[in-house]
Symmetry: C2
C-alpha cells in the first residue's frame, strides 16, 4: 500500500489528458473548431491539468473561483487554491457554449467547452496583482509596489497584459508540449513519479524546487532533507523562466552530475515539471506545495525568497504564509503538503562546512556568499569562483555554457561586421 500523501482535493489524480485513439479523434475534431491563441503560461497550466499536476482542477477558473482564490486562498467550493489559473483572450467572438481549440505556436494543446465568459477590468487585474504578487512586507505599500511592478515584475506584467476576457470551462488536453521527448527520464507525470516513490517505499518525501543551477547551498538544503525524510526529489522547473536565466537544458545535466558525484543515489531522485514561473513569491510557494502533493511529496523545502523576483517579497514571507492560510480540517479541502523551512544557507570557513543563519554564529567575512549577478559575471568572464561555493564539476559545465553564449554573440557580431563591410 502506498505511504504517499493523497493528491489534493480528495478525488485522486484528476487528469484531463487524452491519449491514443481518443486523442486522435479529439485532434480531428479540434481541426474544425474555432482557434484561440494561448500564452506560454496557459500552455503550462494546461499540461499540468492534463497530467494531474493541478488536481482537482479540470477547468479554467470561473469568475467566482478567481475572486475566491485571490481573496480567500480557496476555490469557490472551499478547496484550497493559492493562485488564479485562468484562460484569457481578446477574441470577443467566442461565446458561452462554444467548443474551442486552444493553440500555442500552431500546435493544438486542448479543446475546451466554454461555460463562462467574463471580463476583468484593469482595476480588477490590479486588485489581483496586489493580492497575488504584492507580498505582505512593509516595503510592499501600494504606491511603492506600483511604481516598479509594471516595469520590473514579470508576473504583474503578464497579468496586466492579459486579454480582455477570461474563458472558463473544462478542458481536454491533447499535448504535453514535447517535454517527454526533451527530458526523457526527468519529465515525469504525477502518476509516474508516484509509482517511482512507491517502488522505493517512501512516505515522507521532500521536494527541492529548483529553477537555477544547483550550487552547494541548494545541495545542503537537499541533504538536510535527506537526513530527516525517507527521500528527496530534486524537482526542477523545466518550463519557461525570465530572460537571462539558465535554461533547463543546461541545469538538468548539472544536477545529474551533482547527484552522481555527491549524493547517495538511493535517497534522491531528479524530476522536472512543465510549468512556467509566475514569480508570485509566497503565493507561488503555496502552489509549489500544492502540486508537489499531487506528485506524491508531502514536504516542500522553502528557503530564502522562494519564487521571488527582485525585492518584491520579504526574505521569509514564503515560509510564513504557510501559517496564515485557511485550514478547514477536511483533508479533501486543505493543503496537506507542509513546508520544510530552512534559513539562508552558505559555506562558512569557521564552521568548516555548510551552515545556515540558524546554525552559524560567525561573521560575514567567514561566509562564502555570491549574488546571482556576480556569479553570472564570474562564470561568463571565466574568473575563479571562490572555494567551496560550488562543485568544480558543475561549475565547469556552467562555464562552458556561458562560453558558448559568448561564441554565439561573437559569431553574430562577426556576421554583422562582415555584412556591413559588403
Amino acid at each position: 500500500m502506498s505511504k504517499l500523501v493523497a493528491p489534493h482535493g480528495g478525488k485522486g489524480l484528476v487528469c484531463s489528458l487524452l491519449e491514443g485513439a481518443a486523442r486522435e479523434a479529439e485532434l480531428k475534431k479540434a481541426a474544425g473548431l474555432k482557434k484561440v491563441e494561448i500564452s506560454a503560461r496557459v500552455r503550462g497550466d494546461l499540461i499540468m491539468m492534463g497530467i494531474g499536476g493541478f488536481s482537482p482542477l479540470d477547468s479554467f477558473m470561473t469568475k467566482a473561483d478567481w475572486k475566491s482564490v485571490c481573496d480567500k486562498f480557496t476555490l469557490a467550493d472551499g478547496t484550497f487554491w493559492p493562485v488564479p489559473v485562468v484562460l484569457d483572450t481578446n477574441d470577443d467572438s467566442v461565446k458561452v457554449g462554444d467548443e474551442i481549440a486552444l493553440v500555442f505556436k500552431d500546435e493544438t494543446y486542448a479543446t475546451m467547452k466554454v461555460t463562462e465568459k467574463y471580463a476583468l477590468t484593469d482595476d480588477e487585474k490590479k486588485w489581483e496583482c496586489e493580492k497575488i504578487f504584492k507580498g505582505v512586507g512593509e516595503d510592499s505599500a501600494d504606491d511603492k509596489f506600483w511604481k516598479v511592478a509594471l516595469e520590473d515584475h514579470p508576473g504583474v506584467k503578464m497579468v496586466m497584459a492579459q486579454g480582455k476576457f477570461n474563458l472558463a470551462g473544462p478542458v481536454k488536453v491533447l499535448s504535453e508540449g514535447g517535454y517527454p521527448e526533451r527530458y526523457p527520464g526527468v519529465y515525469m507525470r504525477p502518476a509516474d513519479l508516484r509509482a517511482k516513490l512507491d517502488e522505493k517505499g517512501w512516505g515522507t518525501v521532500a521536494a527541492l524546487q529548483l529553477r537555477n543551477p544547483m550550487h552547494r547551498s541548494h545541495e545542503y538544503l537537499a541533504k538536510i532533507a535527506v537526513e530527516v525524510c525517507d527521500g528527496v526529489v530534486i524537482h526542477s522547473l523545466i518550463g519557461n523562466l525570465k530572460p537571462g536565466d539558465i535554461p533547463a537544458e543546461v541545469r538538468v545535466p548539472c544536477i545529474d552530475k551533482l547527484v552522481e558525484l555527491y549524493f547517495v543515489k538511493d535517497n534522491i531522485i531528479q524530476a522536472g515539471y512543465p510549468l512556467d514561473m509566475r514569480y508570485a513569491g509566497p503565493r507561488e510557494a503555496l502552489l509549489h506545495a500544492l502540486f508537489r502533493q499531487n506528485f506524491g511529496m508531502n514536504r516542500l523545502i522553502v528557503g530564502r525568497d522562494h519564487a521571488g523576483v527582485g525585492d518584491f517579497y520579504g526574505m521569509f514571507e514564503a515560509q510564513d504564509i504557510f501559517d496564515q492560510i485557511p485550514v478547514t480540517g477536511n483533508p479533501a479541502k486543505d493543503l496537506l503538503t507542509q513546508p520544510l523551512k530552512i534559513d539562508w544557507t552558505f559555506y562558512c570557513k569557521k564552521c568548516d562546512g555548510m551552515a545556515s543563519l540558524r546554525t552559524c554564529p560567525h561573521g560575514k567575512e567567514d561566509r562564502v556568499i555570491l549574488s546571482g549577478t556576480k556569479l553570472r559575471k564570474m562564470l561568463s568572464d571565466g574568473s575563479d569562483i571562490p572555494d567551496h561555493f560550488g562543485r568544480e564539476e558543475v561549475l565547469d559545465m556552467l562555464r562552458k555554457y556561458y562560453a558558448s553564449l559568448t561564441e554565439k554573440v561573437e559569431v553574430k557580431m562577426q556576421a554583422a561586421a562582415s555584412g556591413s563591410k559588403m
Copy 2:
C-alpha cells in the same frame, strides 16, 4: 499558551519531591524509620520521580507493572513504559504496610510506603535481562548473549546483582542529590526547562542525548535538528556512567565552549538530567524519549547505537524500535515524543563538510572516523587528532583532563614507590 508537548501519562508533571517545611518534617519522621540502602541506579530513578522526569510514575513498580513493562512495553494500566523502575533489597525484615527510609551513602533520599513485596527468581531476572538488554539483532541469540552479558554488560550485571526482593509503593522524595549545586544553570527540573522553552516560544523541540564529549559528529546531529525544529536542547546525562567514561564535570564545560563558539545561542540550550546509564540500547532510547516528553521536548535525536554498549545491539535497533512499540491512539497512554532518526555522521573530505551515510557516496578513505578507544588513546598520549574530527578548543580541554589523570596516577605511583623504600 505553551506550545510544548504534554507530559507523559496525561496527568501533567507528577512530582514526588517535598520541599521546605514539608521536607523538613518528613526528614524528621524518616530519622525514626527503618532504613533501606539503595543502589546508585535507584537513587537516580528517585530523583527523576521527585522532579517529574518520570511522570506519571510516583511509585516503584509492582510485579504486575514489572512484568507488563518487560512483556508489553506498558504499565499494568496500559500506559507506555519501556524499562523496569524497581526498588530491590536483600532486607527480608521489611513488610507490606511498613514505612521505610531510602538511604544512599548515609543520605536519606526518600520515604516510602511499602504496598507490595515480591521476589524475583534468577530465572525471572534472566527473563527481564533478555527482554530489556538483549536487542533483537541476529547476534543476540540467547546463548551468545549469556556467554558475554554477565561479564561485559553493565546493565545485565546490575539486574543480576539486585537484592532478592523488590518493594513497590509510592515515594516522597527528599533530595536532589546535590545536582542543583554541582551543575547550576545546567541541572534543570522538567518544570524549569519547560518554562525556559515556553519563554522562547518553542513548540517543536529536539533533545540531543549526550553521555560522551561532544565532537563534530554530535554537533552535526544537533545542527540538523536546529534546521528543522524550533530549537534544540543538548540534554546530557549528569548521572553515573561506566568506569573510564568522561565525567559530566568535564563534559559540561566542553559543551559550553562549543555552544559559545559554534552555535547560534538563540537556538540551543544546554541542560542535564540526573539519571544513570542503564545501557539498555533500544529500550533505553524509548526511556530517553519518554522523559524528554516530560522535560518538554517532542523529538529525540536517535543516531547510531543509541544507549548501546559493546556489540550488544544492532547499529540502528534503537531507531527501529520506535516503529514496533504499541500505540493505543490515546495520547494519555502513548509515547508522544518521536525519534529524529539520523544515520552515522562524520566529516568527509570529498563532501568538504559533515555528512552521513545517507548523504555521502564516498569511500572510507575520505571519511574522518575515530573509535572512542583510539580517540582516548590519542588524547591521553597527546598525539594530534585528525583534522575536522573535533573543535580544537574542545579537544584542548579534553587533553588537559587526560593530562590531569596521568598526573594523578604518577603522583600515586611516586607515593607508592617512596613508601616501598621506607
